[in-house]
Amino acid sequence: LNDFNDGLTDSISLYFWENLYKSSRKSLRLYIFSESLNLTSMIGTLQNLANEIVSGSQRSPAANEEFKAIINDTRVTSECLSNLNSSDAFAFVFCNNMLKLMEQEEFNIVSETRSEENITNYGQADTVKAKVYG
């Protein structure tokens, strides 16, 4: 931690120590460790999973769920994008799963939503939006 502190500017250093003060040393260290682990090893795992998914084995659906769970973390996105050209299987599986993630909260507009009572029943957070923009 001392080495880490030497290379930092004052404002970042202040921010760093303030956060260290807030969290316990143990959990902070675990956090840093898991961050570096994530960033180095994900693309290999994803490529293996993609090959497994495309091969059409019985484990494909499970592998796809695993793949989706990993790319749901935005820290992995830039790494995935920079490896898009590496293999066709990976590009295909990545694009389709990203689409699914973005479409996740699909809501079909049907004629039943005409009255305001129906609309306000969909969710508490959304009713606020509805009032602002409606």
Binding site: M98, E103, I119, Y122, D126, Y133
Partner: protein, 173 residues
């Protein structure tokens, strides 16, 4: 993300099913950007990736400032790569479909808001692009196979623009 995916599409020759899913992802990303009203530059840059000489005139920022008389043909179809041009049209068509049919809005009001924001901030751009596409057809039509694909895509694209103002009324009744 849009930039990287587009570069990938343009630089390498992917099998069509992969190209299709990449184009869909670009369209979906564009669509999710357009839920806010400050992304005109992203739109212009995306179009320029596929059709490099394309320029949007600055007075086409909103539908209130549209003056169709100043639209001039700015480039020739021969100058740009036809397959890239088709790709761009496919992306834009897919984007309109995401916007109007496969809405990801949680409530009706969110959907309506998205429709209105798009209409007020971006529809003029797409109308302008559609007019340019029509002009290109008249200026550069020949009997090649590629040209028929361009005609089909242009017509489909124009249909999406012309139907857009009726989107809400179609769903309301």
């Amino acid at each position: 993300m849009i930039y990287v995916l587009s570069q990938c599409l343009l630089t390498t020759n992917k099998p069509s099913y992969i190209a299709k899913s990449m184009m869909d992802l670009v369209a979906m990303s564009l669509k999710s950007l357009f839920e806010e009203n400050s992304y005109s530059s992203v739109l212009e840059k995306t179009i320029q990736l596929f059709v490099s000489p394309f320029m949007l005139p600055p007075n086409f920022n909103t539908t209130n400032e549209v003056n169709l008389q100043v639209v001039l043909a700015r480039y020739n179809l021969l100058e740009c790569n036809i397959s890239h041009y088709c790709m761009l049209l496919q992306i834009l068509i897919s984007m309109f479909e995401y916007l109007t049919f496969q809405s990801t809005s949680k409530t009706y009001y969110e959907y309506r808001r998205c429709i209105y924001i798009f209409r007020n901030s971006y529809l003029a751009f797409f109308l302008y692009f559609g007019i340019e596409a029509c002009k290109l057809l008249f200026a550069g039509f020949d009997n090649s196979d590629n040209m028929y694909q361009v005609v089909n895509l242009t017509l489909e694209y124009l249909e999406n623009i012309f139907m857009y103002p009726f989107t809400l009324s179609l769903h309301e009744f």
